[in-house]
């Protein structure tokens, strides 16, 4: 017995000693590189990296590109559907300075991190893009420290879904919407819901409330937190009060996009904040009870003149600093930005275009009837904080907003903690 224990301890001790020994011998190399100025004119085959191609839209586009660029073939590297896994995959390939990740599709909230780590080719000088046709808010998501690092590729904004059979005129302000909650009550249904489960969607909804009330999460430099303000408190209080008095049903604290959609389609919600993807599903799902009775409007604002400030979703296309064929990569990015490609994205994958004029295209509106409303949403949108510490910042927002909405913390305390946590994130 004793011998066995001793054997075990000896094993562990020697394992530990060995580990320490090798640990001390190890050291990490590092140092700056000037890869930004390399390979800028070289051409050749490249790889385009993107998350799961849900509607089989990118493959035909690449085939189309390859047909006209026999010497600059694009290979498609498809990542998983999970945002976190896409992020990790990119981080780890950038760290390995992988020359085969040429053009990468990055979520808007990662752009700053990748730029600050020096992994993205700045889109300046020979790489400058014409951004005049693009929606200004989308360009902001690709801009870090005043430099454009990634080209907007697709966008997304929040919409207010409502029941036009019960509410003939959609509310323009938050207060108007809450007044309409009496209608919901008389029909024995929930009034309003967004996404309040503790995940990225909560950051989106919190930021929307705070921005709508005239507050902000970070100052315009994208780094300095500015959330402990009366305006921000007003915004967060809107959510907290509505949840407390039941205008937002209690189960909404578990809602991600899908649960809200299910409830709305089942006729259990009068108003819902959600993304445009719900539109086609709610009008076509066999089980949807709101096929003909639903409609959309811009998010409610503080006053009737300004609609609510949506957070922006979407992706940007960036060129890896380690790419071996940057000239080809730039051409491919321009191809992704082109009006034709944007049109294809919109019609085949329901991705919101980044080119302003497409929102007024009659044929496109016929296919995607929500486009004019979405345009209002995106024109009034505020990007989520463009910070290289986004994972920590979103954690700070989620955790404290969640506690506030559930009533575990006062709004003031939550915002104070949020401010402190965002500060700690950047230190």
């Amino acid at each position: 017995m004793i011998r066995r224990i001793r054997g075990f301890s000896v094993a562990m001790a020697s394992l530990g000693a060995g580990v320490l020994l090798i640990a001390m011998a190890g050291c990490s190399g590092g140092g700056g590189d000037d890869s930004a100025s390399q390979n800028t004119t070289s051409r050749g085959p490249i790889t385009y990296v993107q998350g799961k191609d849900n509607n089989n839209v990118i493959r035909p586009l690449i085939a189309q590109w390859n047909a006209s660029h026999p010497k600059e073939q694009v290979t498609f590297k498809e990542q998983s559907d999970q945002a976190d896994q896409q992020h990790d995959d990119l981080v780890q390939h950038f760290q390995a300075k992988d020359p085969h990740y040429d053009v990468v599709d990055v979520d808007v909230v990662w752009t700053a991190e990748f730029a600050a780590k020096g992994w993205l080719q700045p889109l300046t000088g020979d790489f400058a893009l014409d951004t005049s046709k693009l929606l200004p808010a989308t360009v902001k998501t690709g801009t870090y420290n005043g430099v454009l690092y990634a080209a907007p590729q697709s966008s997304d904004g929040g919409l207010l879904y409502y029941r036009k059979d019960l509410v003939p005129n959609p509310p323009k302000t938050w207060d108007e919407m809450l007044q309409d909650c009496s209608i919901a009550k008389s029909h024995n249904m929930g009034c309003y819901a967004g996404q309040y489960a503790k995940y990225e969607g909560l950051t989106v909804n919190t930021a929307e409330a705070i921005n709508t009330a005239g507050g902000e999460i970070v100052k315009s430099d994208g780094r300095t937190p500015d959330v402990d303000t009366p305006a921000a408190a007003k915004g967060l209080t809107m959510l907290v009060d509505a949840y407390k008095n039941g205008d937002i049903p209690q189960q909404a604290i578990t809602y991600q996009e899908e649960q809200g959609r299910q409830a709305f389609e089942a006729g259990q919600l009068l108003f819902m904040r959600n993304w445009p993807y719900v539109y086609s599903l709610a009008t076509t799902d066999a089980s949807s009870k709101v096929k003909t009775s639903m409609a959309i409007a811009p998010l409610p604002g503080l006053t009737a003149t300004t609609p609510g400030a949506s957070s922006l979703g979407g992706h940007n296309a960036a060129i890896s600093k380690y790419s071996a064929h940057k000239a080809t990569a730039l051409d491919f990015v321009k191809f992704l930005e082109s009006e034709d490609t944007q049109n294809t994205f919109a019609t085949k994958a329901s991705l919101a275009p980044v080119i302003a004029s497409l929102y007024d295209d009659p044929t496109l509106i016929q296919k995607l009837p929500y486009l004019p409303t979405l345009k209002t949403s995106i024109l009034n949108a505020v990007p989520r904080p463009v910070t290289p510490f986004y994972p920590a910042v979103t954690q700070a927002i989620e955790e404290n907003a969640y506690a506030a909405i559930k009533g575990d913390k006062t709004v003031d305390q939550a915002l104070k903690d949020m401010q402190a946590a965002i500060t700690a994130a950047g230190s």
Binding site: F8, H87, K198, T254, A396, N400, I422
Partner: protein, 341 residues
Amino acid sequence: MSVTSGVSADDKAEQDKAAPPPRNRGSSLRKGEGKLGLYLITPTIVLLAVVIGYPVVKAIVMSFQKDPGLDKATGMFVSGGNAGFSNYTHWILQRCGTVSCPPGTLGAEFWDSVGTTFFFTATTVVIEVILGMWMALVMNRAFRGRGLLRASVLVPWAIPTAITAKLWYFIFAYDGIANRVLHTHILWTGDQWASRFAIIIADVWKTTPFIALLILAGLQVIPADTYEAAVVDGANAWQRFTQVTLPLVRPALMVAILFRVLDALRIYDLPAILTGGGGGTGHATTTLSILVVEQIRGGFNSAAALSTLTFLLIFLVAFIFVRFLGAHVVQTQQRQQKGTI
């Protein structure tokens, strides 16, 4: 289970020493043994060194380096340099820079997630052992339907945990079957205790059958005449259970518990998919493994320190447990040998 093997090998060694060898092992066998043994274990050790040793070492190296910080002037990251023990103190003392980590930072969640991990471990293991014991007793008594029992008991065990988690996520949805059957409106993924119990229920469903099978195997080696003797002695069912069954299955039980404890301390798939670590104040179901994965996106080196701490903690528990378990195994065997049962 290597522990058990160790015990049996040890006991053999002890027997060898105590009494004249019960069997005459040829000297030719002994001579070659040392070398042969080393040859045979070398491939295993080499493989383990590659798949576990290398990552451990690398993680420890990383944990003593600072994560890159931002150069305020250029807005670009610069490498952090040597960190000393600052990555460790960040977690253990919950210090973020010069201040104590405010709520909403991962640093503020370290001890909470240690508590959550241990809470999950303790509750799931206790429930699983009690329920598993009962299931094993039922299965041991069953004459008909034993095949059906065994097959159905293996089903939860065979389903991949990731799929189990998705299944329970679906069952515990607000509009899901759980609330419908119970006629409740419980926020299974939002409420502090409901979310914890959702995970415990899912884990109990998934793992109890496994425990039950281990205990059943222990039960089946108990000779029937032991019971009959107890019956003749007039022992009632409870006495038979506590005085015959329990001591005899204890070795099997202890090994099962050890492995469950080590497994439960690493719990990741279930809370990650079921609640995303949320619930309650926002991190009611964040276990150590989830915290590591969350931190990986906020800095590798800090994550490496956290995973090293996690490993040390699990190791500590295992060490204490092996001591505790070992003592009981020996006690049980001595009692058995003396025939005091």
